[in-house]
């Protein structure tokens, strides 16, 4: 039966059809191939700072190249080096890069200066962005830094950092009858009581004070600027800010010797070796205490919400985004890469295959697979991560201080002033009065109208 039916289908008409189709294919091969590999021949140049996300992504890039026909040239540099290169490249109007990392602390500066392409033009076009890519799936709090005053989007976040509290020695705390601190006052008490027990320091931290310190300032009701992003007059010498500075300086009396010059790695090491009990920092640094192979405190660790201040509960958060320079040569190809790199599929593969949890797609963070992988010692770390990451988008955007372009100048002054207080060079009030004057002078020198 089968043979006869096949024989029937090989009619003269069918043969003619097949011949015609072959002739068309032979005459116009290029468009058909182009449809399969729409970016064949394009070399896409991108740059970012070195991060595990990109190291992992590089493993999948050959798949992307195979699918699109383009070649991806991804340049990864050290964080400060990348920022300097990107600053120069973008501000000089260069077209060396087709996509770039939009660094959190520089995002406002680049967006305000019009150095990046408006990505809404890509997401609004159904020919360029299928509905299932769903830009609204990105956690709102992580997207805030990549929007301009009118709400246009200039970047999509590939990594989120949510400030959480890691405790390494719950065994010591339980022995002493201490509970996980939920307020600043309880935090101070726990740090003081644990400090020195079994050679363990109460808390650890590192030298990036303008990341670690603001939640304490805000916890007491202060801020870095008067009301950012609209009013960027520094507010470094308000009573609330001074209270926050004094509190944090006092807290660090329970930290290891030399903590003021600690790097992030040193702080993390002191925690995961059990030499310090508490570390309040971004989730991507705190969670390895529980998850890493080298951790000596896996069984006695907890990761919880940062303690709340007497006035506000404002744990810091940040995110890093991918964007397209305004003068990029291959904007559509760059968008294709961003869509792919931040697609639900790749995000989930990063979580499942590599345990990379700091993704910014809500659908992934809330998925069952993510929850299973990120529940440690009975704690749903994903839920904590999402909660903190979302906070700045609910009501007041309290992280706005960090994304205004004036922050690096004021942050640098704040760093120096805090160290003067912490080392007893100056009383907090004097140090912060001087810092306020210096910050205003530096901003005016930089041309900021106050």
């Amino acid at each position: 039966m089968k043979t006869s039916s096949r024989a029937r289908s090989l009619t003269r008409r069918n043969l003619l059809k097949a011949s015609a189709a072959t002739a068309v294919l032979a005459a116009f091969p290029a468009p058909l191939i182009a449809q399969t590999k729409p970016f064949a021949g394009v070399t896409l140049h991108g740059a970012s700072f070195q991060h595990r996300f990109f190291t992992l992504l590089q493993k999948y890039i050959p798949e992307f190249e195979e699918k699109t026909g383009m070649k991806v040239d991804l340049q990864l540099s050290a964080f400060p080096v990348y920022n300097q290169q990107a600053n120069l490249e973008l501000s000089s109007g260069g077209s060396a890069y087709d996509f770039v990392n939009v660094t959190f602390i520089l995002a406002a500066r680049w967006v305000a200066a019009g150095l990046l392409a408006n990505l809404d033009e890509f997401t609004a076009d159904p020919n360029l962005t299928p509905a299932e890519w769903n830009p609204k799936d990105f956690v709102e709090g992580a997207q805030v830094p990549y929007r301009d005053a009118k709400g246009a989007t200039y970047g999509y976040s590939w990594e989120g950092g949510a400030m959480l509290m890691g405790l390494s020695r719950m065994d010591l705390m339980e022995k002493k009858g201490l509970k996980i601190p939920k307020t600043f006052a309880e935090l101070q008490q726990v740090c003081t009581e644990i400090n020195g027990t079994d050679g363990v320091s109460g808390i650890t931290s590192f030298q990036l004070h303008h990341w670690n310190l603001p939640p304490y300032i805000q916890g007491f009701g202060g801020n870095i600027f008067r009301k950012p992003p609209g009013d960027i007059m520094p507010a470094l010498n308000t009573p609330e800010t001074i209270q926050g500075i004094e509190f944090y300086a006092n807290l660090l009396k329970s930290a290891p010797k030399g903590v003021l010059t600690y790097t992030e790695d040193q702080a993390r090491q002191s925690l995961l070796t059990g030499r310090a009990n508490i570390f309040i920092h971004s989730s991507s640094w705190v969670t390895p205490i529980l998850l890493s192979e080298e951790s000596k405190v896996k069984e006695t660790s907890r990761v919880v919400r940062s303690p709340a201040g007497p006035v506000h509960d404002h744990p810091a958060s940040n995110s890093q985004g991918l964007g397209i320079p305004k003068n990029a040569k291959n904007k559509k190809a760059a968008w294709e890469f961003i869509k792919w790199a931040l697609s639900p599929d790749i995000s989930m593969r990063l979580v499942k295959e590599h345990g990379h949890s700091s993704v910014c797609r809500r659908s992934i963070i809330t998925s069952e697979a993510y929850r299973k992988l990120n529940t440690v010692n009975g704690q749903d770390l994903g839920a904590l991560y999402l909660e903190v990451l979302e906070l700045p988008a609910k009501g007041e955007n309290y992280m706005a201080y960090r994304t205004v372009k004036e922050f690096p100048i004021v942050g640098d002054v704040l760093n120096k002033a805090f160290e003067q207080v912490a080392t007893g060079q100056l009383p907090a009030k004097d140090a912060m009065n001087a810092a306020q004057d210096q910050a205003i002078a530096a901003l005016r020198r930089a041309g900021t109208q106050l």
Partner: protein, 275 residues
């Protein structure tokens, strides 16, 4: 070639220092409306003034120790012996290491919870402060590391000078009944003084470049205790984005170093003229 390598960047630095150049302010690189504004702001900038003072302290103490220790070591190792000749090479190692490696070595030594120095102190029941985050010791910690790195330079120079001194002078002094100290003071020192001055001057000029140590050990802190002028210029250019103002700071540094160099040349000529 000389124009492209040396003169053009310097000219561009001076030109930039006359503008309010900021990377993200379009047109600021060519705004010469108030060319001396940056220089006018410098005397009133407490961090700039402080950075000059920190640089002066770091340079003076560093050079003093490097010259004295280098000389002492050269005197001790100026012995005709195969073993000593072999040992001399070990003292040159710090100088040939990449500066960042030197900084990492001292970072390990100065970090209390991993440092052998602190373990030893603990074993001796001696409490050591955290050197790099202490107001009283941070600059000293930098001076020690800088001395370790560059003392071999003076050592090498003095050793070469010592080996050119004819033995007859010290033999004659010995016959006249001079003791070791007198031989050093009246015979050796006059011979090596020009080398001590020259190596000291070289080190003084070079001490302005103590960037990696400060970057890695203290980041200029605590507060501004170790913030030297070139570190401040770096922060201005790459942290706070004030390229124009940073250039003005750098031009002032350049003038100071040029002043020291010219002083060195003038001293050398004066010495030659005096015979």
């Amino acid at each position: 070639m000389l124009l492209a390598v040396a003169v053009l960047p310097a000219v561009y630095l001076v030109v930039t220092s006359l503008t309010p150049f900021q990377l993200t302010t379009p047109g600021s690189a060519t705004d010469f409306s108030s060319p001396l504004r940056n220089y006018g702001l410098l005397p009133g900038d407490p961090r700039f003034v402080n950075s000059l003072w920190v640089q002066a302290k770091l340079s003076c103490w560093g050079v003093l120790f490097q010259v004295l220790l280098g000389m002492l070591l050269a005197l001790l190792l100026n012995v005709p012996s195969r073993f000593v000749e072999f040992a001399r090479t070990f003292f040159l190692i710090p100088m040939v290491l990449p500066p960042i490696v030197v900084a990492v070595i001292w970072k390990l030594i100065y970090t209390p919870d991993i440092s052998p120095l602190y373990y030893a102190a603990q074993a001796l029941h001696f409490t050591m402060p955290a050197l790099t985050s202490s107001v009283d010791f941070a600059l000293t910690a930098i001076v020690i590391a800088d001395t370790w790195e560059w003392m071999p330079f003076t050592f090498l120079m003095v050793l070469a000078a010592l080996q050119t001194i004819p033995d007859e002078y010290s033999e004659a002094a010995l016959v006249d009944g001079a003791n070791t100290l007198q031989i050093f003071w009246y015979v050796t020192l006059p011979f090596i003084t020009p080398i001590l001055v020259i190596s000291g001057m070289f080190r003084l000029i070079d001490s302005v470049k103590a960037f990696p140590l400060i970057f890695l050990l203290t980041s200029g802190g605590p507060g501004t205790v170790t913030e030297v002028t070139n570190y401040y210029a770096y922060l201005l250019a790459f942290d706070t984005n004030e390229i124009g103002y940073s250039s003005a700071v750098t031009v002032v540094m350049l003038l100071l170093v040029a002043g020291i160099s010219l002083g060195l040349v003038w001293m050398g000529r004066r010495r030659e003229a005096m015979g």
